[in-house]
C-alpha cells in the first residue's frame, strides 16, 4: 500500500524552504496549553465556588450569596487593595525611575549598585515583609535609630494605614522597575543624553526632556506589572497589615481556611473579585498603551 500523501510528495518534498522541522504552532502549543489548562481550570473552579456551584458538602445551588452576604466587607477589601496597589505603584514607579537614572549614569566601578538592585528583586517578598516589619514597628530599628520610644512611634505596621505594606512593595518593586527601565533604555541612553548635552541641555533637562520621556513605555509596562502584583500579593499585607479592613487576598485566604464551610463561597468571591480587578487594570492599560507609545515616539 502506498504511504498516505504519497501522491503530493512532489510538492512537499523536504527542501531548504523552512529552517525548522516543526511548525511554530506545535512548538508553542505545550506552553500555551498548560497556561490555558491550569489558569482556566483554577479560575473556573474559583468562580463556580463563589456562585455556590462547587460546595464542599451538600448540593450545588446557584447563588450570589458569596458576593452579597458580606458585600460591605468585600467592598472595603476592594478599596484596601486599590489603596495599597495604587500607592505602591506610584512610589515604585517614581523611585524606580530615580534608581534607573542613577544606574544609567553610573561611572565605571559602580557596577555593585546594579547588583544590589538585582539582589533586591531576588529577595522573596515574605523575607522583605519580615525585614520591613523589624524596621518600622514600634520596637523596630528605625525608631531605635531615631531615639523615639515605641509609644510615640506611629503605627506603621498594622496601623490604620497600610504604610509598612506599601513601603515593602515600593522597595522591592522599585528595583524591578529600575531594571526594566534600564534594560529598555540603556542602548540609546548614552547617545541621546550626549546629543542633548551637546545641544546645551543641563542635567535637569536631560532628565526631564530626554531620559524620562524615553523611559515612559518601559515604565508604564513595569508599573502595570507592579499594580497587578500588588493587588494579588498575600504575604506582605498579611504580615504587615491590620486585621480590618484587609485587602482581597488576605480576606480570601482567611475565609478559605475558616471552619465555617459557608465562608468558602465568600472566600472564592473575594478571589474572583481580585482577579477581576487585576484583569480590568490590564485591559485599561492595554487600551491606553497606543496613545502613550505615540507620545513617547514624538520625543525621538
Amino acid at each position: 500500500m502506498a504511504p498516505r500523501g504519497a501522491g503530493i510528495g512532489v510538492v512537499t518534498r523536504p527542501g531548504p524552504q523552512r529552517p525548522t522541522a516543526l511548525p511554530g504552532r506545535r512548538q508553542a502549543a505545550p506552553a500555551v496549553v498548560l497556561v490555558v489548562a491550569v489558569t482556566g481550570s483554577g479560575l473556573a473552579a474559583v468562580v463556580a465556588t463563589s456562585l455556590g456551584l462547587m460546595p464542599l458538602v451538600g448540593r450545588p445551588r446557584l447563588t450570589t450569596d458569596g458576593y452579597t452576604a458580606g458585600s460591605a466587607d468585600l467592598l472595603l477589601a476592594v478599596r484596601e487593595s486599590l489603596v495599597i496597589a495604587t500607592a505602591s505603584t506610584v512610589l515604585a514607579a517614581g523611585l524606580g525611575l530615580l534608581v534607573a537614572g542613577v544606574l544609567l549614569g553610573l561611572r565605571p566601578g559602580r557596577g555593585p549598585l546594579r547588583l544590589v538592585a538585582v539582589a533586591v528583586v531576588a529577595v522573596p517578598h515574605v523575607v522583605g515583609a519580615a525585614s520591613v516589619g523589624l524596621l518600622l514597628s514600634g520596637a523596630g530599628l528605625l525608631p531605635r535609630l531615631l531615639g523615639i520610644s515605641p509609644g510615640d512611634w506611629p503605627e506603621l505596621v498594622g496601623g490604620s494605614w497600610p504604610v509598612a505594606t506599601v513601603v515593602e512593595l515600593a522597595w522591592k518593586e522599585s528595583a524591578f522597575v529600575a531594571l526594566v527601565v534600564v534594560a529598555a533604555t540603556a542602548r540609546r541612553h548614552r547617545a541621546l543624553t550626549e546629543t542633548a548635552a551637546v545641544l546645551g541641555a543641563g542635567p535637569w533637562h536631560r532628565w526631564t526632556r530626554v531620559f524620562v520621556p524615553t523611559a515612559v513605555p518601559a515604565l508604564a509596562a513595569a508599573s502595570l506589572i507592579v499594580f497587578v502584583y500588588s493587588v494579588g500579593t498575600y504575604e506582605v499585607p498579611w504580615l504587615l497589615g491590620r486585621a480590618h479592613p484587609e485587602p482581597l487576598p488576605v480576606m480570601a485566604y482567611r475565609l478559605f481556611g475558616s471552619i465555617d464551610l459557608a465562608a468558602r463561597p465568600a472566600a472564592a468571591a473575594a478571589a474572583t473579585t481580585g482577579a477581576l480587578v487585576a484583569v480590568l487594570a490590564a485591559v485599561l492599560a492595554l487600551v491606553a498603551a497606543p496613545a502613550m507609545r505615540r507620545r513617547a515616539g514624538a520625543v525621538e
Binding site: 497556561v35 474559583v46 529577595v123 481580585g274
Partner: protein, 271 residues
C-alpha cells in the same frame, strides 16, 4: 539647580549632586534589609537599644531546630522542578515567537503573559478546590501552577534570545548534513545558551521564593523556606530566628548573582 549646573561644567560625568543621589539610592535599596543582618547575629536586642545587648547565634540554632535544612532542601527541589519544566516549554514557545514562526502570534503572546496579570492566589484557590475532587497530589499541582507562573519569564526571555540569532544558522547546519535534531542541539541551543541560563534562573527563582501557592495548594503541607519564614515571622519574640531563616533563603541567591556577574565580566573582558 545652580549648584548642579556648576558641578556639571566642572566634569561631565562627576556631578556632585549625583553623588548624594547615589548614596540615597543605595540607602533606599539596602536599609530595608539591615534589621535582618543585625538580628542574624543577635541573641538579645530589646528596644530601645540601638545595638544588641547580647551578640550570638541563638537564632540560627532555633532556625535549625525549626527545620531550616529540610525546608531549604524542599525549596531547592521545588525551584529545580519548576525550572526543569518551564525552561524547555518556554524555550520552545520563545523560539516560535522570536523566529516569527506563528501565523497568529498575538494570541500566543497574550496567553503567555496572562499569568503575570492573574493573581496567583485566585488560581491557587481554584486548584485547591479541584484537588479534592481529582485526587491530583498537592506537590504536583504546586509545581504545575508555579511552572505556569514562570512561563512568562522563560518564554519572553527565550523570545528575546531567539530574536537575537538568525534562523539561517540552523538551516546552514542542515545544509551541512545535520539532522533537524542535531542542528537544534549543536547549532541553535549553544547560541541561545545565555538566554537558557537566564530563563532557568528566573524559573528557579519563581519556585524558590514562592509563598502563597505553596501555602494554598495542598493545604500548606509542603514546608519550604519561605513558608517557614512566614510562619516564624507571624509569631512574636523570635526575631533572631526569622533573621536566620531569611538570610538562609536569600544568601544562596545573592551568591549565585555575584558569581553570575563575575562570570559575565570575565566573558566581556575576553570578548
Amino acid at each position: 539647580m545652580s549648584a548642579v549646573d556648576g558641578g556639571a561644567r566642572r566634569r561631565r560625568t562627576g556631578r556632585p549632586a549625583v553623588h548624594a543621589l547615589d548614596v540615597a539610592v543605595l540607602a533606599w535599596l539596602v536599609v530595608p534589609v539591615l534589621p535582618l543582618l543585625v538580628w542574624g547575629a543577635a541573641s538579645r536586642w530589646s528596644a530601645p537599644a540601638v545595638l544588641p545587648q547580647d551578640w550570638g547565634w541563638d537564632g540560627w540554632r532555633s532556625a535549625y531546630d525549626g527545620g531550616l535544612v529540610p525546608a531549604l532542601a524542599r525549596s531547592t527541589v521545588l525551584g529545580l522542578a519548576v525550572a526543569a519544566v518551564a525552561t524547555p516549554l518556554g524555550a520552545m514557545a520563545g523560539r516560535a515567537l522570536g523566529w516569527r514562526e506563528l501565523r497568529h502570534p498575538a494570541p500566543v503572546a497574550l496567553v503567555l503573559l496572562a499569568p503575570v496579570v492573574l493573581p496567583p492566589f485566585s488560581v491557587a484557590m481554584g486548584l485547591d478546590v479541584l484537588l479534592l475532587r481529582t485526587g491530583l497530589p498537592g506537590p504536583v499541582a504546586v509545581v504545575l501552577l508555579l511552572v505556569v507562573l514562570a512561563l512568562p519569564y522563560t518564554s519572553y526571555t527565550m523570545r528575546a534570545a531567539y530574536a537575537g540569532i538568525d534562523p539561517e544558522l540552523e538551516e546552514q547546519a542542515r545544509t551541512l548534513g545535520a539532522t533537524p535534531r542535531q542542528a537544534r542541539r549543536r547549532a541553535t541551543l549553544p547560541a541561545v545558551r545565555l538566554g537558557l541560563l537566564t530563563a532557568a534562573g528566573l524559573a528557579f527563582l519563581v519556585g524558590w521564593s514562592d509563598y502563597v501557592v505553596t501555602l494554598l495548594v495542598g493545604g500548606g503541607r509542603l514546608v519550604t523556606a519561605p513558608v517557614l519564614v512566614g510562619a516564624t515571622a507571624a509569631g512574636s519574640g523570635n526575631e533572631a530566628a526569622v533573621a536566620a531563616l531569611s538570610i538562609s533563603s536569600v544568601l544562596p541567591l545573592v551568591l549565585a548573582l555575584v558569581a553570575g556577574a563575575a562570570l559575565q565580566r570575565r566573558r566581556e573582558e575576553r570578548a
